[in-house]
C-alpha cells in the first residue's frame, strides 16, 4: 500500500475538537474511563452522600468492564488534613464503599498522595486493565446507546474513552453512532444500528500495519491512516471484502447479504467470490448475494445548501438546499460537533427542505447527503450551523 495524503482528515482535524457526550450524567456528573483514570464530571469530595452515590455508580461501571483488574483510590487532601494517617483513612473509607458495592476487596487499594498546592481535597480513581490483551481501539466519540462485548448476548454499555479489544463486537443502537480510533490512528465511524467485530490489528516497523474489521450489520465510514508498504486495511462483510488502497470510504452490510461500497477518496478494492473491482474516489459499487461486484458508478455530487448558514433561532428553522440530479432522497445529518463524530441525528427527506424537529435546542451543525435509487450515498454538502434558542 502506498502512502496517501488524507485530505479529508485535514478537514476533520481542522474542525471542532470539542466532543459532545450524551452519556447519562448520573451521580458522578458523567463518567469516563480514559487512559487508566476514572474521570468524573465533577470533582469528587472526600466524603459525603454525593461521594458515596458516585462511588456506587463507579462500582457498577467497573462490573461492566471485566478487563479492569484493579482500582486505586487516592485521597488528595491538603497537608493539614493528611496528618496522622487521616488522608489514608479517607481513601480506605472510599475503597470500602466500592467493596460494599460489589468490587472484590483484593482489587481495590487506597493511597494518600500529597495534594496539589492550592487545590481543595478530592478523591481520584485510577485503574489497571488486563495487560495481556492490548487495546485495538478506543471509543473516541459516541452518541446514543453503544455497547460492546465478546458475543451478541454479552453486550455491555460503553462510553467515550473505553477500550476495545480483539474479537469484541461493537454495537450501535438505532439513532446512535460512534467514532472509534484504532490502534493505527485510523478512524471508523460506526453509523446507527450497526455491529462491527474488531479483528486483530498488527502494527509493524516502517508504519506497516494490518487491520481487519468485520461488519456484521449496518454501515461504517472509514478514514484510514496512511500505512507503510505491505499494509492491509480490510473491512469484511458477509459477501465482500473492501481492501483499502486510499483513505476514506463507506461500507454497508445489507440485510440480504449484499454489500455496498462508496469511495470518497483514494481507491478501494471491492472483492467477492466472483470477482473484484477497484472503486476509485467518487465512485461506488455493490455486491449482490452470489454475484460479482457491479462496475463502479459515479456517486452523486454534494448538494448545494441554501440555508440557514448560521445564526440564532427562537423557533426550529427549516433547512433548505438545491436539487441534486439523480437523487431520490436526501440524508440530513445534525451533529453537535463539526466533525460529526458525536451527537449525530440522522433524518431522511424526500424534498429539498427539512423542518428541524422541535426540542433540539442548542448549537447544531448540519449537512446533507444525496441518496440515489439504489441507496448509494453521495458526497456530503458543506457544513453549516444554526443555534436554536427557544
Amino acid at each position: 500500500m502506498t502512502r496517501t495524503l488524507p485530505c479529508l482528515m485535514v478537514f476533520a482535524l481542522a474542525a471542532f475538537q470539542a466532543r459532545a457526550e450524551d452519556a447519562a450524567v448520573g451521580p458522578c456528573g458523567g463518567l469516563r474511563f480514559v487512559n487508566g483514570r476514572v474521570e468524573m464530571g465533577r470533582k469528587l469530595e472526600p466524603k459525603g452522600p454525593a461521594t458515596e452515590a458516585c462511588l456506587k455508580h463507579v462500582a457498577e461501571a467497573l462490573a461492566a468492564r471485566p478487563a479492569i483488574r484493579a482500582v486505586t483510590v487516592a485521597a488528595r487532601l491538603p497537608d493539614a488534613e493528611r496528618l496522622d494517617g487521616q488522608g489514608l483513612a479517607v481513601a480506605k473509607a472510599a475503597a470500602d464503599i466500592l467493596v460494599s458495592a460489589g468490587v472484590s476487596r483484593t482489587r481495590v487499594s487506597a493511597v494518600a498522595p500529597p495534594a496539589v498546592p492550592g487545590e481543595p481535597g478530592q478523591l481520584q480513581l485510577a485503574y489497571v486493565e488486563r495487560p495481556t490483551q492490548p487495546r485495538v481501539a478506543r471509543v473516541r466519540a459516541a452518541s446514543g446507546e453503544v455497547s460492546a462485548g465478546a458475543a451478541p448476548d454479552e453486550l455491555r454499555p460503553r462510553g467515550v474513552g473505553d477500550s476495545l479489544y480483539t474479537g469484541e463486537l461493537f454495537h450501535t443502537s438505532k439513532d446512535a453512532s460512534a467514532e472509534l480510533e484504532l490502534a493505527d490512528a485510523s478512524r471508523v465511524r460506526v453509523l446507527s444500528d450497526s455491529m462491527l467485530r474488531l479483528g486483530a490489528i498488527e502494527l509493524g516497523a516502517n508504519a506497516k500495519r494490518v487491520v481487519r474489521l468485520e461488519l456484521m450489520r449496518g454501515s461504517v465510514e472509514t478514514l484510514a491512516a496512511p500505512g507503510g508498504d505491505g499494509s492491509v486495511f480490510e473491512v469484511r462483510t458477509r459477501g465482500a471484502v473492501a481492501g483499502v488502497r486510499g483513505t476514506q470510504f463507506r461500507v454497508s452490510a445489507q440485510e440480504d447479504g449484499g454489500s455496498r461500497l462508496e469511495t470518497l477518496e483514494g481507491k478501494v478494492a471491492l472483492g467477492a467470490e466472483k470477482g473484484e473491482v477497484e472503486v476509485a474516489g467518487g465512485q461506488g459499487s455493490r455486491v449482490l448475494p452470489g454475484a460479482a461486484p457491479e462496475p463502479p458508478r459515479p456517486l452523486l455530487a454534494a448538494p448545494l445548501l441554501n440555508g440557514p448558514r448560521g445564526g440564532s433561532f427562537t423557533t426550529a428553522p427549516k433547512l433548505e438546499w438545491f436539487t441534486v440530479p439523480g437523487a431520490k432522497t436526501y440524508r440530513v445529518e445534525l451533529g453537535r460537533t463539526a466533525d460529526f463524530a458525536a451527537g449525530v441525528r440522522t433524518f431522511e427527506s424526500q424534498a429539498q427542505e427539512f423542518a428541524v424537529p422541535a426540542g433540539l435546542a442548542g448549537k447544531w451543525f448540519w449537512r446533507v447527503l444525496p441518496v440515489d435509487a439504489d441507496g448509494f450515498i453521495g458526497f456530503p454538502s458543506k457544513i453549516f450551523a444554526f443555534d436554536l434558542r427557544p
Partner: protein, 475 residues
Amino acid sequence: MSPSPETPARGPRLPRPSPPLLRGLAAVVGLALAGVTAVTGGAPGLFERALYDQAVSRLLPGVPRSADLVLVEVDDRALSALGERWPLSRVTWARAFRALAAQRPSAVAVDVVFDQPGSRDALELGEDMLAALRESGLADQPAGAALVTDLEARLHAQDGDARLAEALAENGVVILGAAALTEDVSLMPPLADGALGSPLPLPVGSLRLQAREVAGSIAPLRMAAQGSGMLNMLVDADGVIRRYPYAVGVGEHVWPSLALATALRLMPEQGESLQRRATLDHGAPLMRLPAPDWLPRVSLADVLHADPRSVGLDLALRGKTLFVGVTATGLHGQSTLPGQVAVPGVEIHAFALDNLRADRLMRSSGIVALTGLLETAVLLLVFGWRCRRARTLGAVARTALGLTGVHVALVGWLAADFGWVLPLIPACVGLGLMLLVDSAARTEELGRQRGALRRLFVRYPQSSPGTSVTPGDPR
C-alpha cells in the same frame, strides 16, 4: 586564417582571476561553513564534533563532585542479593521506595517507566480460589474463614502495582520516568492528552526534540507519584549524546525532562528561571561533562538490606536528591558522552539537573551562533586586509598563525568561562584556504618575476673576463 598543423587549436582564453578575488572566494567558503553551522543548530558543526568532544572531555573543567545528588543503583550486587532478574517485580520496587521513604530524601527521580501492569496471573488464581471457597460454603466454617483471611492477606501483599502505588504515595516526592514517542511505531502504549498532568507553559515550536505522543507509567502509579519526566536523550548521528533535551514538544504541549521535573519539584520558587534556562538552545543545550566519580552511589541492595536506622545510610540519603536507575552489566543503556565516556542513562539525568540548577549550560545557537558567524567574518576580513599589506609570504603565514591562535584562544575562553560554544573549524578552513591562495599567487608572481629576470639576463648577458659572446647566440 587556419591554424598551422604544428599549433594546437585553442579556444578563447578566460582571464585569470585576480588573487584578491580568489582570496575572497576562500573567505566565502569559511564564512559559508560558519553559516551552515549557525543555521543547523550551532556548534559543534559537521567537521568539529571530534574536536569538540576532545576539548569538552579533556580541557573544559568538569562538573564538580555532587554534594546532594546520589545515585541509587540497581547494580549487579543488588540483583544478586535480591535473587531477581531485571525487570524487578513491583513488590520489590515497592519495598525499595518504602525503604527510601524512611530516609526522607528531598526528591526521588526514577529512570524507569512502569508502562505495563505487573503480572496478575497468580492474583487471579488466588481470587478464583477465594470465590470457590465462598461459593462452597467453606468460608463460613472457622478453618475456612481463617484460610480466606490468610489468602486475602497474601493476595494483598502480592499485588505489586497496588503496593507500589502505596509506596510512591507514602514517599510523596517521587518523579517517575516517561517517554516521548518519536518513532512511527513504539513499543510503549501512548497516553491520551492530559494523562501526564499539566504541561509546561513554554513555546512548543522551537524545541529541538519533538514527538508524536507520550508514554508513561500506569495510571495508579502516576496518580500516586509527584509527577513524571521524560527520559529521552538526543543522540547525534555518531551515537554520542552532546545535548540534553530539558523540554520536549508533543503536539501543542511541552513536557519536562526528568531533570527539569525534578528541579521544578526541588526549587518551585525558581520555576520561571529554571524553565527559561531549559529553553536555551531550543530546549536542548550542550552539557558540561562530570568529573570521574562525581556522583556518590548507593546500591539498592544496601538500601533494602541495611538497618533502616543505619547512620551510614542516613548520612548518604537523608535530604538528598536520589536518582534511581539500573547500572547492572548489560542492562543499562549504553549512553556515550563526548570523549567515548559510557555512562548509565540515569547518571546523565543527574548531571543534567546539576547543569541546570547551577546554570552551567553551554549554548551554541541563536545569538551565540550569530557571534560565531561575525567572529569568523572579522577574522577572515582582517586576514584578507593583512594579505594585501604584507610584503612577504612569511609575514602572511605568521599572520595566519597568529589569527588562528587568537581564534582558538577566544573560542576556548568563551566556552570555558561563559559556556558559549563558537564554531572553530570554519574560520580555520577560511584562513587555511586564503593562505593557500595567497601563497600560490605569490609563488606564481615570484616565478613570473624570475622568468622575466632570466629573459632579461639572456638578452643582456654579462660578459665573463676573457670571453666574447655574440648577442643572440645560444649559451
